[in-house]
């Protein structure tokens, strides 16, 4: 079934004491999409979270901060833990971890702080190393000023000239200076120093020789670094030992909190509760039975109504009808494993409505075909297939899986088209060509134009992308017409189930007639413009096409008003838009031709009229292969972007516009997804 699964709206009522068990049961059934309770209903108020919620939230908060301190990486965690085990160990482990981790992180931060301090001190002392004075000599004078700091060049002569009552010590390396100067002449000395780029480094208030001080600092630094390493190692050890538990406990607590907060979405009175939910119609008996059996008659399920597909048609004056059941029901699609891989491409645009066809199946068929047609080369098709296959095996995120899906299935079609329709690899045809080099001429072997399989002659390459533009262009226009036609057919169906046959005929069937008429006219246009025949007005095709188009336009005008006439050129644009299938293939073939010509004909001296001819130089051959590789890698990457995007776009814009509305609500039943935990016996104690 292409339509989303049918939904029934149910009301579950019961005594308030049974609320917790009801929630547990619904989570286990995974079949109820809860509708948030709106506080408008009289006599009801929002439910309060279950009592375990606050404690669990607090623990979760603590756990998350511990996780951050430990730097737990989700990718490292393997295996699952039993929920019962977690429950048992939780309180003790959190308390223990908190103490250990707090002490370790605290000492780590303290150590790191002290190391920074010492390093700064050591950097200051380093300048004084080259001057043979003890540190206490730099301070404690009454009439002298001591200037110490970095300089560029030797300032002694200049300083002595400016301030005769001074003594200058220059370090051995010549970039640090200590000047002892009478206070009265300190300003002059400073001015003289300034010319040598003096930056002051005040002497630290220490005693002893700088050598001793530096050695002592080094000693302490070594010890501190060792303890820091120790602390880091301890933290790592803790992480290794507890990461799995912490991650599992995090998941478990999140689930507990989520379940405990479910009453916030439910209406309650003093003694009873009532929850509104959507359940797939086929699951209603199962849920009903489970509630009757599991909750001992304290809770009752009432199926209110099954959502119909039909809804009222909004009138053209822009009035909004009140939301009907059909518009509120959530969308649950049931697609097989392969189709599901394409679901994300559709969801990226929007979720289909409850009462319209889920177009994923049609996308699964045509997206890879379009991709393959645009690439159409076995040389790219096979790498695409391999890349896509690897991606599907190894990637987990939706985005990468979608890209891999596109590459894998698109690669299959690219290979098929590459072998049978275009007969080329890396933009070079297999069999001999009249105007171009081919693999036959390059390798000096005769590759066949066709192969015989079971008595049939299967051609290897019918068209060349660059030399047979006309037929390929013509073919793509037909692909466009057919694709748009299918779009309108689905549109007719959607409109019929949603608003009834009348609307379907006026708004979509009318366009079907126009498309058929347009297709007939296309044949005439080809006859007249390309084949150069004269076309009579009494041609049978015109006699059929004209009334089809006129009737179609009249119907569409009645259904949609003047906007329908404005849409006509748009329809033509949509169909012409499919010529991109040819255009992108051509542009890639053109790029490939350029690279191949540079590599083989210009550099390697290959003449396609002489099979196997080349310059025979090995060094040139290496350069040729390098150009070939880089060039085709470029085309390969461009192909992912252009062919992938354009085949998606043809669906989103040209195809979906004909029938798709989207904007549905995803079916999200109450359920838990466990990655790090398992629940034995279905009940956690």
């Amino acid at each position: 079934m292409l339509l989303p699964i049918q939904m029934t709206r149910v009301l579950i009522v019961g005594s308030r004491g049974a609320l917790k068990d009801t929630i547990e049961l619904l989570y286990r059934l995974e079949a109820a999409h809860l509708i948030d309770f709106s506080a408008e209903e009289e006599g009801f108020s929002l439910g309060a979270p279950l009592p375990e919620s606050s404690e669990a939230s607090q623990r979760l908060l603590k756990l998350r901060s511990l996780e951050k301190d430990m730097g737990v990486d989700a990718a490292e965690v393997r295996g699952r833990m039993d929920v019962a085990q977690i429950e048992k160990d939780l309180a003790a482990t959190i308390a223990e971890l908190e103490v250990e981790i707090t002490s370790v992180t605290e000492s780590r931060n303290k150590l790191a702080g002290r190391i920074n301090e010492l390093e700064a001190e050591r950097a200051v002392l380093k300048g004084f190393l080259g001057i043979p004075l003890d540190m206490e000599m730099y301070s404690g004078y009454e009439s002298l000023r001591v200037l110490t700091g970095k300089v560029r060049g030797d300032p002694s002569v200049a300083v002595r000239a400016a301030a005769p009552q001074s003594e200058v010590f220059l370090s051995d390396s010549g970039d640090f200076v200590a000047v002892f100067v009478a206070k009265a002449q300190a300003d002059e000395a400073q001015r003289a120093l300034a010319q040598f780029g003096f930056t002051e480094v005040p002497a630290p208030a220490k005693s002893g020789s700088p050598q001793q001080l530096v050695a002592r600092a080094d000693e302490e630094l070594t010890a501190l670094r060792a303890s820091l390493e120790e602390a880091v190692r301890k933290l790592e050890e803790l992480r290794e030992r507890h990461a799995a538990f912490v991650k599992a406990a995090d998941e478990h607590l999140s689930i507990v909190v989520e379940k405990a907060e479910t009453p916030l979405r439910v209406g309650t009175t003093e003694y009873a509760f009532a929850m509104d939910a959507w359940v797939p119609t086929s699951d209603v008996p199962k849920v009903e039975k489970a509630i009757a059996e599991g909750l001992g008659g304290k809770v009752h399920l009432e199926a209110l109504a099954t959502a119909p597909r039909k809804e009222a048609h909004a009138s053209h004056e822009g009035e909004e009808n009140p939301k009907s059941l059909a518009e509120e029901a959530p969308t649950k699609t049931e697609n097989g494993r392969i189709v599901k891989q394409f679901e994300y491409m559709e969801r990226m645009l929007s979720t289909p409505k409850y009462n319209e066809i889920d177009p994923t199946v049609t996308m699964m068929i045509t997206i890879p075909i379009f991709f393959g047609l645009m690439v159409g080369d076995i040389g790219y098709g096979i790498p695409f297939m391999i890349l896509g296959w690897l991606g599907l095996r190894n990637c987990r995120s939706d985005e990468w899986r979608t890209i891999s899906t596109l590459l894998f299935y698109g690669g299959i079609w690219a290979t098929i088209f590459g072998v049978f329709l275009f007969g080329e690899m890396y933009g070079i045809h297999f069999a001999e060509q009249p105007h171009d080099m081919s693999w036959s001429s390059l390798l000096g072997v005769q590759l066949p134009h066709e192969i015989a399989i079971g008595g049939f002659e299967i051609p290897l390459g019918i068209y060349s992308k660059l030399h047979n533009v006309k037929p390929i262009l013509y073919m793509t226009i037909w692909i466009g017409l057919i694709h748009v036609f299918i779009g309108y057919v689905i549109g007719v169906y959607n409109k019929a189930i949603r608003f009834g046959l009348k609307h379907a005929i006026l708004e979509r069937f009318s366009w079907l007639l126009i498309v058929i008429g347009g297709a007939l006219l296309l044949l005439i246009v080809v006859d007249a413009m390309i084949l150069g025949k004269t076309v009579e007005l009494t041609d049978l095709r015109i006699l059929i096409a004209a009334p089809l188009i006129v009737v179609g336009i009249l119907l569409a005008y009645k259904g949609e008003g003047a906007a329908a006439i404005l849409d006509l050129p748009g329809l033509m644009g949509n169909v012409i838009s499919y010529t991109r299938l040819a255009a992108i293939g051509m542009s890639k073939a053109g790029l490939a031709l350029a690279f191949n010509t540079i590599a083989f004909e210009v550099l390697w001296g290959h003449d396609f009229l002489v099979p196997g001819s080349n310059s025979g130089d090995t060094i040139i051959l290496i350069a040729v292969l390098a150009i070939f590789l880089v060039g085709h890698l470029t085309i390969f990457i461009l192909a992912i972007i252009s062919a992938g995007l354009h085949s998606l776009r043809l669906h989103y814009v040209e195809f979906f516009m004909k029938f798709y509305e989207g904007g549905g609500v995803d079916f999200k039943p109450l359920k838990v997804i466990r990655k790090y935990t398992i629940e034995k016996n279905g009940v956690s104690e």
Binding site: M348, L349, L473, G573, T579, R580, A583, H646, L648
Partner: protein, 72 residues
Amino acid sequence: MADAGLIALSAGIAVGITGMASAWAEKEIGSAAIGAMAENEKLFGKGLILTVIPETIVIFGMVVAILLWLNM
């Protein structure tokens, strides 16, 4: 047959100007799409689709160029 040089020139103009038109339109949409994405990353899909819509303009240009070329 018409003058080959003039036809080639016309084909070039057809592709060139429509290419610039596409680029201009895509620039406006693309920057708006990135702005929207900064607010909500989920809009990437829609943004991408909206951004490539004006690409049709250059496809039309290319079709015209090909028709010209076929008549050469």
